[in-house]
């Protein structure tokens, strides 16, 4: 077999997704997190689970029942590890949310359904971020730091370079040197041993820098949010601009987060800022 690889790259045609130009069925169908479908006005009344029942079903305490006014149930996607127990236990209240586009610009916007003031706050944050990243729209370089992940997050970040996602086509590249980097991608719970290396990496990057917390571990610590080996996410260690939930966040979720950071999310697929669909 002389030159075994020369024509092999052409064997299967184009494998690359057309997202963000077009929609992608895997992105649209992926159950990345849960949504509240019946959190209000229960019919019959009294069906809405109590806070104790919610805490018993959710291993990360992501479900909350608010008693101010009418009882309302919310889910914090930043703490959700997509175990699906709430969907199994209370199918009339919770359902899988289809679509990998779950990144948000504020930590509060991951709590859904969101209050109206959260949406205003998100809009203000988006305008400020858009001003900051104006110079980064055409091509950016990413530096990734593992701050105590379980290892699956790195696979999903690495997947952005495979021919299916191929982020290089969008002018997005990974770099070894923080000096060349515009985006800091952080995974993991914020392990104590990684606090100083993470801080040094951030300091070595030239401003403006966009920081993306990738995965529920990085957003909130997830299942490991308490404990001596966790910082409850990386939000207290660096100034995070984009929050990408998921345990781990799927490649499409990460890509959506990157586009959100660069204000390049396609218009017809507005960011999941809390509005349930």
């Amino acid at each position: 077999m002389p030159l075994p690889w020369a024509l092999r790259g052409l064997l299967n045609g184009t494998l690359t997704t057309r997202y963000p130009g077009r929609s992608d069925p895997y992105l649209d169908g992926f159950a990345a997190t849960v949504e509240v479908v019946g959190g209000r006005d229960p019919d019959p009344p009294g069906v809405l689970p109590t806070q104790e029942a919610l805490d018993a079903v959710c291993p990360t305490g992501a479900l909350h029942r608010s008693e101010s006014g009418d009882p309302v149930v919310t889910v914090d996607r930043g703490a959700c590890i997509a175990c699906g127990r709430c969907v199994l236990a209370y199918p009339e209240v919770f359902a899988w949310r289809r679509g990998a586009d779950v990144a948000a610009l504020t930590r509060g916007a991951l709590v859904v359904p969101s209050a109206d003031d959260t949406e205003e706050a998100v809009a203000a944050v988006r305008r400020a971020l858009a001003d900051r990243v104006r110079g980064l729209r055409r091509s950016v370089h990413i530096r990734h730091v593992d701050a105590g992940s379980d290892g699956s997050d790195e696979w999903e970040v690495q997947a952005l370079l495979n021919p299916v996602y191929d982020v290089n086509r969008l002018g997005i590249f990974f770099t070894a040197s923080p000096r060349h980097a515009d985006i800091l991608l952080v995974t993991g719970v914020g392990a104590p041993g990684m606090r100083a290396p993470l801080h040094r990496t951030r300091e070595a990057m030239p401003d403006p820098v966009v920081v993306v917390a990738v995965g529920t571990d990085a957003v909130s610590g997830g299942l490991f949010r308490h404990g001596y080996g966790s910082s409850g996410g990386v939000g207290d260690l660096v100034d995070v601009d984009v929050w990408v939930p998921g345990s781990p966040a799927s490649p499409f979720s990460i890509l959506h987060g990157l586009l959100l950071a660069l204000d390049r999310v396609p218009a017809e697929r507005a960011p999941a800022d809390g509005s349930d669909r």
């Binding site: 690889w5 070894a176 104590p192």
Partner: protein, 506 residues
């Protein structure tokens, strides 16, 4: 310890000196050390050694009382049982027990400095931030001589990798010695298990080593099922095999991709990256999660699945033939094979001495495959998984073991799907079974090798779980494979190990 009748033989408790002598004697007689761990008991520490004898697991325990200074001490096993080397360091970091006479009691998982108390797994809960890491201290220097220097690689690596520090001691090109420092990403996993009900602790097990979520979930569930005597229904056993083999394929494809990347074979990197993505999507089409999480439950599966086994098998056949063809192309790429052949060899004697597990052991002719030693779940219902045929111990042998296993995984998957047939698989979680207190041992074969969970339950909740990943057991062998290898061999050797560092740093 009486000879265990089954893999679930419970522990035997001895006095400290008798325990040490027994472990040393059994190791000298050919028993394989699977792990040593501590469980806090207030006024001392309960030490447990897990051993495999004639492929069966058993546990030997002792209570080491705290001395007048509050520190528990015992005579180190490592001088006579070298496989205990890292386990005793981890024991010192986490449980604060001092193995006297240990050859190198440097921090491995947690650098507590001088006075910070240990987190003591098995004991009371530790407050968040209760065990701060000492300041960053430079690693050891072992090789001195004219022009020698130490090159620290990491913890932030170039590229998208897990955090770990490799200290290369070098005169400039050769690497006479490497030190591994995994402590940077220590997450305190052991304490995360404690105080949880078993069905919640499965979710922790899935996060010990995320790239082998299924294997860890299985090992944990086997430990509980062993304690409670739960029998898993047949369809759940088969689905467990489907998830486990898909996970193995994804891992082996990842290793192959990294090897091709190290050699600069751009087309191969793309091809194997694509194959891996297809496997992760197959996994998500089976259970909704790309890593097979939140599906394995105690007693079977924690959720029902509706599998289209026919179309799964069809896609798997096509994927298998593409993978086979691309492996054939790799085997025909002389410039690629030249980089693998003779690189980073692990001597058979060292692999035997350490009881190496997984593809690393198999490539050095030490076969400790749980699927063959102690068939579990659907492996009991299916034809036995054949052993691979590469024994030269180098990067090439480790790669060929994985390439053979890729093909046997496809065959096993097709068998499992065929046996399963087209029918909805109901959830089969044993929610009502009362699990008795005691020690349960569970194991499963991850892509990295044998995963063992030693689980202590008390009052229906987890008191201590020793989650031993294959990665933790095998990574120490990284010290032994640099024989005349140079800088540019490092990415090949590291990729060929194919280990998850989260499962090492715990």
């Amino acid at each position: 310890m009486t000879t265990p009748a089954r893999t679930d033989a419970r522990e035997v408790v001895l006095d400290v000196a008798g325990w040490g002598d027994d472990v040393r004697g059994r190791a000298a007689a050919g028993a394989r050390l699977v792990g040593v761990y501590g469980s806090d008991r207030g006024d001392g520490c309960r030490l447990t050694a897990v051993l495999a004898e004639q492929d069966r697991l058993g546990a030997l325990s002792t209570i080491v009382p705290a001395g007048t200074d509050g520190v528990a001490r015992y005579r180190s096993l490592s001088p006579e049982v070298p496989a205990a080397f890292w386990y005793e360091r981890a024991l010192h970091d986490l449980s604060g027990v001092v193995p006297e006479g240990h050859p190198r009691l440097d921090p491995l998982l947690l650098d507590r400095g001088g006075s910070t108390p240990a987190p003591r797994p098995g004991g009371p809960a530790v407050a968040s931030g209760g065990t701060p890491m000492a300041g960053e201290r430079p690693g050891p220097v072992d090789v001195v001589g004219h022009g020698m220097f130490t090159l620290p690689l990491g913890p932030v690596r170039s590229g998208v990798f897990e955090s770990i520090e490799l200290l290369l001691e070098t005169p400039g090109e050769d690497i006479p010695h490497v030190n591994v420092r995994p402590h940077y990403k220590h997450r305190g996993v052991a304490k995360q298990f404690e105080g949880r009900a078993p069905r919640d602790a499965v979710l922790v097990a899935e996060r010990v080593e995320g790239i082998s979520s299924v294997a860890h979930a299985l090992a944990f569930c086997h430990a509980v099922e062993d304690l409670a005597g739960i029998e898993v229904p047949r369809h759940a056993r088969l689905v467990r095999v489907v998830l486990a083999e898909l996970e193995r394929m994804a891992n082996h494809l990842d290793v192959t991709m990294r090897l091709a990347d190290a050699a600069g074979l751009a087309v191969a990197v793309s091809r194997f990256g694509w194959h891996k993505e297809r496997v992760l999507r197959l996994t998500s089409s089976v259970c909704g999660n790309r890593f097979g999480r939140a599906t394995v439950g105690i007693g079977g599966l924690c959720r029902g699945l509706d599998l289209d086994t026919r179309s799964l098998a069809e896609e798997l056949r096509a994927l298998g033939s593409r993978i086979r063809s691309d492996i054939r192309a790799l085997e025909a790429s002389a410039s690629f094979l030249d980089r693998l052949r003779g690189t980073g060899p692990l001597a058979h004697e060292r692999a035997v001495q350490h009881g190496a597990v997984g593809p690393i052991g198999r490539a050095s002719a030490v076969d400790n495959d749980v699927r063959r030693m102690r068939p579990y779940d659907g492996y009991r219902d299916l034809p036995p998984v054949p052993a691979p045929h590469a024994w030269s111990g180098d990067v090439l042998a480790r790669s060929r073991v994985r390439w053979e296993e890729l093909m046997t995984s496809v065959a096993t998957l097709l068998d499992a799907l065929d046996t399963l047939g087209r029918a909805p698989v109901p959830a089969s979680e044993a929610t009502d079974t009362r699990v008795p207190d005691g020690l349960g041992l569970g194991s499963a074969e991850s892509a990295q090798g044998e995963v063992v969970h030693a689980l202590e339950l008390s009052g229906g909740i987890v008191r201590r779980c020793f989650a031993r990943s294959a990665s933790f057991h095998d990574l120490v062998l990284f010290h032994d494979v640099f024989t005349g290898d140079v800088f540019t061999d490092l990415p090949f050797i590291e990729a060929s190990f194919g280990l998850g560092y989260a499962g090492v740093a715990m």
